[in-house]
């Protein structure tokens, strides 16, 4: 039973069809690379799975149960965590505050509840250590490097134990050393039976961590095959349209 089943999903924005009848399945412990040129429909598909808006047609099934999200929070409640491309962080808050944003740890005395800063600092410190990141929980995000910001965004997904982690270009703006860290993290997610969708332009990343690669072109899925049965050359051809379908 696949953990995620995208069944015949289409999405139109007015007269423009961004996605047309896309099918996709994903198993536990599996990572799929989602590739395609700009405007191919990757972001639209990601946003539908992440709950930003519902599809025009088709359905999303999680563990064989049909779900219909209208807000990202609903997707999160069903075990889908997202690392956004622009990272969606509050620059004016600390790393720990960002990790716990919207699900702060609180202490309670009678009717009064207050933020448990110590626990949040400690827990996010542990998460950063797991990610082998130098990020310090008390630092403001404003003062951080690209890699550290990435670590904060990824640490957010580790708070709950999600079924599916969506990553939108997680290696786009960081240094080589940190690309390796992010890829290691994806390996670790797979080992612990999480399913990962990796949207990336970077062919080497996809070929290193993903089990399958799916290619979108002009809103349709033109390929979906195991990484061992394809090559960077073929994928490039599929993305550009030099190869029609595979």
């Amino acid at each position: 039973m696949p953990v995620l089943h995208v069944r015949g999903v289409s999405k139109s924005f007015g007269a423009i069809q961004a996605l047309g009848h896309v099918d996709l399945t994903l198993d536990r412990g599996e990572a799929i690379g989602l590739m395609g040129d700009n405007g191919a429909g990757k972001s639209t598909l990601m946003k539908i799975i992440a709950g930003n808006f519902p599809p025009t047609e088709g359905a999303i099934l999680i563990d064989d149960e049909e779900v219909r999200f209208t807000r990202p929070v609903e997707a999160r409640e069903k075990g889908i965590e997202i690392v956004y491309q622009d990272l969606a962080l509050c620059d004016n808050l600390s790393a720990a505050a960002n990790v716990f944003l919207g699900r702060e740890i609180k202490k309670r005395f009678g009717p009064i509840r207050w933020l448990d800063h110590r626990s949040m600092y400690r827990r996010s410190g542990e998460l950063f250590a797991e990610l082998k990141s130098e990020t310090r929980p008390r630092d403001l995000v404003r003062q951080m490097s690209g890699g550290q910001r990435q670590a904060v965004a990824i640490a957010r997904t580790r708070l709950s134990d999600p079924k599916i982690v969506l990553m939108d270009e997680p290696t786009a703006a960081i240094s080589v050393r940190q690309v390796k860290e992010v890829l290691d993290l994806i390996h670790r997610l797979k080992e612990t039976d999480h399913a990962v969708i990796l949207v990336s332009h970077r062919m080497p990343d996809v070929f290193e961590v993903c089990d399958r690669v799916a290619v979108l072109r002009r809103g349709s899925k033109v390929a979906d095959k195991p990484i061992g049965d394809t090559s960077p050359e073929e994928v490039t051809g599929l993305i550009t349209g030099a190869i029609e379908r595979a």
Binding site: A88, L89, C90, L93, A97, W114, L115, Q178
Partner: protein, 338 residues
């Protein structure tokens, strides 16, 4: 990405990672209220040399009471500014609240009834502002500018342009609440102290405070994190209006009378106090202590000019000067930090 830029990025990462975390004192000296507090001390030392009256009990008492009203309002304004909003209607709301409290008590009702009537009006005005801004996505400047006119006009209509100076059976108690003191400290200052503590706690230890800062820092990120952005925005306008209402309630008790001109043009002083205290109009940066400290500096300037024999006509000049100076100072301190 070329190898060169990659190694450059790695170098930047390493540099940043090598930076030590700030000590308590270091982080304190990075805040605007700290520097304004230093300015207050310096001004105080200078004035104590210039004028023998400055440090007299009477003068300190007056300064404390005068700035308390602005301090109370600046607390609420700080929360609004923290969400990158603004509220221009607080001065008019003072007039409306003051008149409502006055008329209700004049009609023979109890103090408590008058208080709740006034706060009820403030709540309604704050709710209207907040809902229009949060749910109808209207610009805070425009909504509250409209409310500035509406609230003042309502105050004029219901007061029939007459002064209220009789407050029914609880008159004596009311005049004591506004004008009296406990342990030598004016009552409005007690209110300010308690409220400042509450705001400090809320900004640093409540989920609400955390969310207010998140909304001001990056509203999109806040929404994606599941924060009820609209409700947070409504709440800051309500809180701000309640602060203005409370300030009006205290002030009318002190004056012993109220006209519909109460609080005229106060919104500018309140916003100035919040901004001098470090609230950033772009949102996301604010200090609970900033509002009261900003208000204190402004009152001190006013008082100093008076004692130094400089004409009252210069007052606004110096308030404006300090406002610009405070923001300029913040700019300089922020440079090279990003």
């Amino acid at each position: 990405m070329s190898t060169e830029t990659q190694s450059e990025h790695a170098r930047i990462d390493d540099t940043i990672a090598a930076r030590r975390e700030m000590t308590w004192l270091q982080s304190l000296t990075r805040t605007q209220p700290f520097w304004i507090f230093i300015a207050i001390l310096i001004l105080g030392v200078i004035m104590s040399q210039v004028s023998g009256v400055f440090l007299s009990e009477r003068n300190i008492y007056n300064i404390a009471r005068n700035f308390a009203f602005f301090g109370i309002m600046a607390l609420g304004m700080t929360a609004v500014i923290c969400t990158a909003g603004i509220d221009l209607s607080v001065g008019s709301l003072m007039g409306l609240t003051g008149i409502v409290v006055g008329l209700v008590m004049q009609a023979g009702n109890s103090l408590l009834f008058g208080f709740f009537a006034g706060m009820g009006v403030a709540l309604l005005v704050g709710l209207t502002n907040g809902v229009l801004i949060a749910y109808f996505r209207m610009a805070p400047f425009v909504v509250t500018l409209g409310m500035l006119a509406i609230a003042r006009s309502l105050a004029m209509v219901i007061s029939d342009n007459r002064m209220v100076h009789r407050f029914g059976p609880d008159q004596e108690l009311y005049l004591w609440i506004g004008g009296g003191s406990m342990l030598g400290v004016p009552n409005p200052v007690w209110v300010l102290i308690v409220l400042t503590a509450v705001f400090w706690w809320a900004f640093n230890y409540s989920t609400w405070g955390r969310w207010v800062f998140a909304v001001g820092g990056n509203v999109q990120a806040a929404r994606l994190a599941g924060i009820p952005v609209e409700r947070v925005i409504v709440s800051v306008y309500v809180v701000n209006s309640l602060c203005a209402g409370l300030a009006a309630f205290m002030m009318v008790g002190w004056f012993g009378s109220v006209t519909n001109a109460l609080g005229m043009a106060y919104e500018l002083n309140v916003i100035a106090a919040a901004v001098i205290g470090g609230a950033n109009l772009m949102g996301g940066v604010a200090f609970a202590l900033g509002g009261p400290i900003g208000a204190l500096l402004m009152e001190l300037i006013r008082n100093s000019l008076l004692l130094a024999g400089i004409g009252a006509l210069w007052q606004q000049f110096f308030v404006g000067l300090f406002l610009i100076l405070a923001v300029f100072l913040e700019q300089i301190r922020n440079r090279g930090r990003t």
